[in-house]
């Protein structure tokens, strides 16, 4: 299957700086006993396992040759550590859809969790302080794109390409970038963002005025810098990419065991 890339981002942990007193610098803080009962991780096996791997490596338990393609033994090890943490009551809840993560963070049920970019903006737009914390070990990245069915031909195929061309022509990219994602074609998105927004979201510069979300809520004031900084700083610190591993079915089964434990 081939795709044309449209969107990607570097993911990390989100925190409530007002409810956590000390600086957070490592992935291993997710399993810090100080946050017992106040942590969360996402309940999607293919993404969650990678976050777990980042935490395990940060704890010094194991070094993965390839987090995106783990062996059965590595999967067992990773899920074993987390199952133990779960039984010890480390996690308040797990989330499956991004609005659940927003609710958990905004209500203060959880102070540290894996999060996605738009969730951070959603929490901030409610007036709750929330930081997408850059961590020493780096980011986990993912990418998405559009694919065309092999069954298309003629007019339908051309229409599909027209759509892809429009999708990458800038408006969509601008909208996505103002939520914190990166468009696959930043140059076209630049035309749909104000200079201040471009400076804030892409170049990591301090905002000149208020930065608004695509729906109009205020996300950052003048002088604030995007969490993590410029595009090169963030994407340059990516250490693993989401992928479908060879042992996918095994991993899903083990994930079910983790949830049921």
């Amino acid at each position: 299957m081939t795709l044309i890339p449209t969107i990607y981002n570097a993911d990390t942990l989100g925190i409530r700086p007002d409810l956590i007193g000390c600086p957070i610098n490592n992935w291993s803080e997710l399993l810090n006993p100080e946050f017992k009962g106040k942590a969360s991780i996402l309940d999607i096996s293919s993404i969650g396992i990678m976050d777990m791997a980042m935490v395990v490596e940060s704890m010094g338990e194991y070094t993965y040759p390839d987090k995106g393609n783990m062996t059965k033994a590595e999967i067992d090890l990773t899920l074993g550590i987390f199952t133990e943490a779960k039984k010890n009551g480390q996690f308040r809840a797990f989330w499956k859809s991004f609005d659940e993560s927003v609710n958990l963070m905004a209500s203060g049920e959880v102070v540290i969790q894996s999060m996605w970019s738009p969730a951070i903006t959603a929490v901030k737009s409610q007036g709750v302080p929330c930081v997408y914390q850059p961590l020493e070990e780096g980011y986990r990245s993912w990418g998405g794109g559009l694919g065309i069915s092999a069954a298309l031909s003629g007019l339908e195929l051309e229409a599909a390409y027209e759509y892809i061309n429009w999708y990458l022509s800038g408006w969509v990219g601008g909208y996505l970038m103002r939520q914190g994602y990166y468009s696959a074609v930043p140059e076209t998105s630049k035309e749909f963002m104000s200079a201040d927004e471009w400076g804030f979201w892409y170049e990591g510069k301090a905002a000149a005025g208020d930065i608004l979300s695509p729906t109009g809520a205020k996300l950052a004031g003048a002088g604030e810098v995007r969490d993590g900084g410029a595009f090169l700083d963030r994407m340059g610190s990516v250490v693993c990419w989401n992928s479908v591993m060879d042992e996918n079915q095994y991993m899903v089964r083990k994930w079910n065991e983790f949830i049921a434990a």
């Binding site: 797990f94 079910n256 065991e257």
Partner: protein, 287 residues
């Protein structure tokens, strides 16, 4: 032709045929399809027609299955116990302590008002109520009963059972109320004349006569709880699983054959449970 239509058998079959057709197409055929798919093989993104027992072998060989089924039964049993007590009490009050029929109907309708809202909304609205900074904890703290928020109110088994009881008690009230209304009042008078006190009347007269209603309510509640995975997921914060979660996880990852196998096992389990329950009471008397 007229002779044919006058034949009682033919008329009977013709009258039943619309419902039979609907049940055949929308109930029997999908189940047959699920049984067939449960023997197929799957890759990450496609399913391949085959005939192999792998899915069932994995299900019965994995300890997760047993843990999860046990969990499902646990929830069903505890919910059943609570809804029985609450449902019976409410139905008893409605049937025997309210004098006029008008008031009985009015109060009964009052019980059903919560159902005018969606099930999911009623379940989710517990989350802000029971949360760490939610209404329940804030109220308890402002009254000075506790110093710190009570953690186990939400995202725990307590929350799951609470939501289940909240959602499904009415399904126990209705059949029991129905059966109680049919009890001949003169039987109770006779018992009182014979010298029985309130508790004895309850145990020896009312409960045996209400058994069909209790059984119907039980079937409703047990079936609903065993199938409801959304409530378990939201109220436990995805930390508990029941069989429905296993199926929905599989479907989300396009593993249809193993989801089908789990579904068939669940269906068989529920049918067996209901079969056992029906041995205790003859419902046909009620219907």
């Amino acid at each position: 032709m007229k002779k044919l239509l006058e034949n009682r058998n033919v008329t009977g079959w013709l009258m039943v045929s619309p419902l039979a057709a609907v049940l055949l197409v929308f109930l029997v055929m999908p189940i047959v399809l699920i049984v067939i798919v449960s023997f197929w093989r799957a890759t990450e993104f496609s399913i391949i027609p085959a005939f192999e027992w792998d899915n069932y072998a994995f299900l019965f060989g994995s300890p997760v299955t047993y843990t999860v089924f046990l969990n499902t039964f646990k929830y069903a049993f505890i919910t059943w116990a609570f809804t029985l007590v609450i449902g019976f009490t409410v139905a008893y009050y409605l049937a025997f302590h309210i004098r006029s029929l008008t008031w009985q109907i009015a109060l009964f309708l009052l019980c059903t008002i919560p159902f005018w809202t969606s099930n999911i909304i009623r379940m989710i609205s517990w989350i802000p109520f029971l949360g760490r900074n939610g209404i329940a904890n804030s109220t308890l703290m402002s009254w000075g009963v506790i110093d710190e928020p009570v953690e186990w109110l939400l995202f725990s088994d307590f929350a799951v059972i609470l939501a289940f009881v909240h959602l499904y008690t009415l399904f126990m009230v209705v059949p029991i109320f129905n059966t109680m209304m049919r009890i001949d009042k003169s039987l109770i008078e006779a018992a009182r004349d014979a010298g029985a006190n309130g508790a004895q009347i309850l145990w020896n007269v009312i409960i045996p006569l209400t058994k069909p209603g209790i059984m119907i309510g039980t079937i409703f509640v047990v079936t609903l709880v065993m199938g409801d995975f959304i409530t378990v997921r939201f109220m436990s914060g995805s930390q508990s699983a029941n069989v429905g979660r296993l199926i929905s996880n599989d479907i989300a990852l396009l593993q249809y054959p193993s989801a089908s196998a789990t579904a068939i096992v669940l269906l068989a389990t529920v049918l067996i449970t209901i079969g056992i329950l029906l041995r205790f009471v003859d419902i046909r008397k009620e219907l």
